[in-house]
Every structure is written in C-alpha cells, then in structure tokens.
Point group: C2
Chain length 352, copies 2
Amino acid sequence: MAKTTIADVARLADVSASSVSNLLNGRSQRMRPATQERIQNAIEALGFTPSLAARQLKTGHSPFIGLIVPSVADPFFGCFARYVEEEASEKGYQVLLGNSDRNSDREKRYAEMLWGSGVRGIIFGSSLVKFDHLADLYREGMHFVSFYRSAHSGAQFIADSIGVDNIQATRLLTKHLLALGHRRIGFVSGPTDMICRLDRLEGFYKTLEEANISIDKQLVWEGANGDFGSTSFIELGRQGAHYLLSLSEPPSAIIAINDMHAFGVYAGARDLGVKVPEDLSVAGIDDIMLSAVSVTPLTTIKQPIRDIARLSVERLIDRLENDSAQEPVHLMLPSSLIVRESTSRYAGRPAR
Amino acid sequence: MAKTTIADVARLADVSASSVSNLLNGRSQRMRPATQERIQNAIEALGFTPSLAARQLKTGHSPFIGLIVPSVADPFFGCFARYVEEEASEKGYQVLLGNSDRNSDREKRYAEMLWGSGVRGIIFGSSLVKFDHLADLYREGMHFVSFYRSAHSGAQFIADSIGVDNIQATRLLTKHLLALGHRRIGFVSGPTDMICRLDRLEGFYKTLEEANISIDKQLVWEGANGDFGSTSFIELGRQGAHYLLSLSEPPSAIIAINDMHAFGVYAGARDLGVKVPEDLSVAGIDDIMLSAVSVTPLTTIKQPIRDIARLSVERLIDRLENDSAQEPVHLMLPSSLIVRESTSRYAGRPAR
DNA sequence: CCCTATTAGTGTAACGATACACTAAGTCTT
DNA sequence: AAGACTTAGTGTATCGTTACACTAATAGGG
C-alpha cells in the first residue's frame, strides 16, 4: 500500500538510486549484467512501478495524449476513439478522452485542463471552422493534430491534419446519384460549423454545377442552430428528411452529411411512408459498421478511419518526441464510394 | 513557453508561494480579500495553471479516473463512456480510456499502467466472470466500480457495482414473447464470459421453466470462443441468426444478448430471406439510440445508462476522496421493457 | 495597559525520479 | 610503468507544489 520508490529498489539491490534510474531509462550499458540483473530482480520483488508524476515533474513531459471528439457516443467517433487508443497504447501513451459537442468553449476548457495535466498534444476528431480559441495554447507549446483541417482555413495558426478529401467524397456521391438519373437531390448537412461539412457541401455544389443543374438552396437543410448539442445526429437527419420531403417539389434522392444522419433520413422517410430506395435514394458518408448491415444497407463513402487514427497518433507522437518545428503536415487519404441498396435508379417521380 | 510556476505568481502578487497555494486550495479565509484579489489577478495575468504532476507528487492523488470498456466503438459503451466523461468532468476529474476487448490480460495490463500513472480508481464497463486478475491491484489500493458485478461472484474480492437486474431483464423479454404465443425461442448470447450474460441467460431459462417449457440447448447460440475480440457484435449476431435459422426446427423468436447483436440477427435473417417481425420476432437489451429509429424499431430492455454512469462516477469519487473502508455497494437500477415493432404475435409456423 | 486570541500570512522540508558532473577502479598503449 | 582511456557506477541539485509549524502584527477582554 505504501508506495515503493526507486530508493527501496536501490536499497534491496545494493546500488544507488541513480543506477536504478539508469536502468529504467535504457542506459543499461553503464553497468555490468550482474548488477542489471540484481536491480531487475529487486524491481520485480517489490512490484515497483516508477511514479509518473515524479518523472513528469522532472522531465517535463507525460505519456498522455488528449482526444477530443464531438461525442464518443456517436459510432463513428467511438470507432475513431478506439483506434486512437489502440495505437497510442502500443506506443506507450494513454488517451485522455473529452467530449466537446462541437462547442468551442468546451473544446477550449478541455484543452486547458489537459495542458494543466501536463498533456502536450491533442487529437481532434472534429474541426470547427473557427479554430482561434486554441491559438493561445498553441503558442504555449501545445501540439494539435486535427482530423481533417485543410490548409485553406484562415486561422491564426495551422495544425497538422489528416483526413480524406471531402470535396471529392461528395463529388463521388453526387455523380453516383446523377448517373442513376436523379436531378433533384437534397442535402442534409446540419449546422455547417465544421470544415469537413463546408467541403462536403462544396463538392456537392460543384458537381451539380458541372452537370449544369441549377442549385436550389431549398434542397439543402442546415437544421436549427440552437439545440444542436443535445440532439443526436439521427434526430437531426430525421428532421432534415421531414423538411425535404415536405417541400412542394421534394427531392428524389438525399445525401446526408454522414451515416448517422442518413439513418435519421431513413427514419424520417419511414415516418412519412416513403420507401427507401424505391421512392427515395439515400446516401451517407463514413461507412460506419452499421451501414453495411442495416436492413437497407447504406450507400456511402468509406473513410479509412483506422489509417487516419494511426497516422494521427504517429504524427502527434513525432511532434511530441522530436519537437521538430517542421511545416504543418496535411495528409489526404483516399476515400471510396461503396454502393449498397439504399440508392436506386430514378423512378421518374418525386418521393411523395 | 517556459512554464509559469506558483513562484512567478507569488512574485508578481508580492506574497509567498504558500499564500498562492493556500488560495489555490480553498484556504482563502486565511487572507484578506485584497490579498486574495492580488493573487487572483496575478494568476490571470500570467495565465498560470498549477502543475498537476507536482501536485500529484506531493498529495499522492491525481484527478484522473480510468475507464475500461470492451470497445468504445460499440455504441452502447460509447454512450456509457460519454456520460462517464461528462459526469467526471463536472466533478473535476478526467477520464483515461482503455479498450479491453473483454480480454483479462489486456484489462490487467491496462489497469497496471493506470496504477503507474497515479490513477487510483477505475470504472469497468464490462464484468468478466473471472475477476482475480485485478486482485493484486485491489490489495495495493486501487478502487474499482464495475458496471454490474453482483455480489454472487466468487472472486477474491468484491468491488462496488452498479447496474440493472439482468435476470429480470430477460424475464421481461421472455414473458413478452411467451405472451405473443412464441414457444420456440432462440437466444443469441455470444461467449458467456461476463456476469451480465450469465444472468441474462439465467433469467431466460428460469422464465421458460416457470412456463413449463422444456429447454432446448440447441436454441442457445454461444458462438465460437476463439475469434471473439476481432469480430463485432453485429457479425456475431448475424452468425447466431444463421445458426438458429438453419436448425431443423428453427425458433419463431430470438432474444439477443444486446441490441448490437439484435441488429446482427436482423442482418442474418435478411440474408436468409426471413422477415422481421412477420416470420421472426427479435428482441434485444440496452436500448441504444439506434434501436428506436432503425427501419424495424427494436423491442428491447432499456438500461438507465446515464444514471448508471453518473452513479458509478459518484461512487468511485467517493471512494477516492473519503477512502471509506465501507462495505461494497451493489446497486440495482430498474430496467423496463420497450415494445416496438420487431416482435409480433406467433404466426403459427417456424421462421423458415 | 498587559495578556491572550486571532488574523494574515511565511519558511521549509518533503514528494519520487532524473541528469549531469563526478570518481574510483581497472585496462590499454607505447 | 606512466599516462590516457574506459568501465561501472555515485552524489546532488532540481522539477513545482503542498502541509505543517511557525511568526509578526493586530484586536479584544478585563
């Protein structure tokens, strides 16, 4: 119960505390194998584990990284969090989890708590358009890796980012629906406070333009801004579907900003007796686990989430350990269209 | 960039470091309001945050709690993790996340890492039947709160537990199906290495017995034990459905060990052209967010997950802060049956 | 107006590990 | 055999905070 210290080990092994410390820190070439073994035995006999607090106080860094996601209850971010934790754990780091609800105040408060805890690197699962709330911490020396924050943001500083090309993602989706004959395509985006959403919307608009289809702003549902945090993505998707399907000229296909919203669109369509895919094609982005096995398997864009998680952790740890003042890194991984059963050829009539 | 310390604050406010420390630790009655304000201003001017490492080294405890779940990628545990984080954050604690895949070695390794990091309390989202791998840490002084570990376990020690009555849960479900006329009821449990699963199975058996229905062990699918960790709950549910629906006398209803498995059963039924609920009734346990809005909304047992999370955090922090050597606490919260559309009256024929 | 309480602070020794400069032997080299 | 070098360690100050024992000054009571 009373904590065993390096001094206890030293006493038992009949060496100085310095030698124990040397062994612990890989300077084992500085002692004879016999001494090494004696220390090793003492460590095991006492069940000694070094105090991270003391170590951190002395060395100035801790084996923790922060992970801030909108909500780990969302399957996409839950999955991301899992891979991040797995990768970090393999590299000897532990993950401190925070849920931001995409609220910049919460992000800031959380990041500051982490700084106080000695954490010097944070992975963000979301990228708010506004990033300046973290500028102070960045200047103090905090490192950030953001899931998809491309270089085009006008922030006061630029963090590393890793993700997919979101413009390309919706381009693939839009082209797919156009090829199926759809001409009135709805878009359920929710609040466009994140860069990835802005880009997804842009890919959608661009592709329509290129196909010479006039853009009807009515077909883009951004949701109510107020109650965002408390309402789940599913519920938002449902509201979006209700809105779009109640238009005087409803769309025959809907792209949702992500798969959870798409499931909400399923639910909304079902509420109104609209059948997917017969009456309405639906497509999402993310390819969460459920999308493949839902009763109507969802057409979507697969994000290489495991790779993104792995690379994010690698990037962050590299920054942490070789505090290289390199240029920020922006990686864009390929994403791919996965056609399942939720999209079908335009039946020549509106959804309802 | 250079860390500001309590001494910097003291210098600026023209007081001793002790006074700053006193203010920081709520002993503000020991100084005049004017002094207090001077210190406060200095803290803000310098953007000072105390070093947790130093504080921890001195006081011996850290504002961290561990959370170990099978996988945060699973929506149920993701949701649990979110509520735990929220509650902990409100109480000034931060959450260190670990994914165990329900592997006791991983649990142990993780718990030891946490101990080394100064963490003195862990919340477990799963309760392996075997618990002894944590006995050493328990003796050293680690506190555990487990999601549902009832008193009946024959472990070397007993931790606090909070959860629902799982026997009651499957009793409600089984009675519901019996009332709908089902007599051959399948059960997709997956590996029964967790206490909650054992109890759920027990509730199922007991209720059948009470109804004088002979138990056919064939109807209980426990899955392959080997590849467990890597296979998702959905995939397991699907395999279970394939197995049960291919029996010479298939069941007309299936209870799944949780909602994710139930979605897997949906998928498995769909693979074989079996319609839910017309041909097959399906019920789950958990009531995750998706269950209410899936294309066939799922009949399930609602777990008061938010309350469980809240109480778990409260319990743990109480143990941490008032190291009361009280008796272990075992709380059982009520759960309730939620009937949706995935269960229907027995049609008088087997599923296929 | 002296003695005792109270108020408003301060000084110092830890907490446990580490890095660096140091030393006392032993080993080469020529 | 003397000097240089290597090996195998050790001593000590330090990281930033806190708890506790301490003190100086003011206030109150008789």
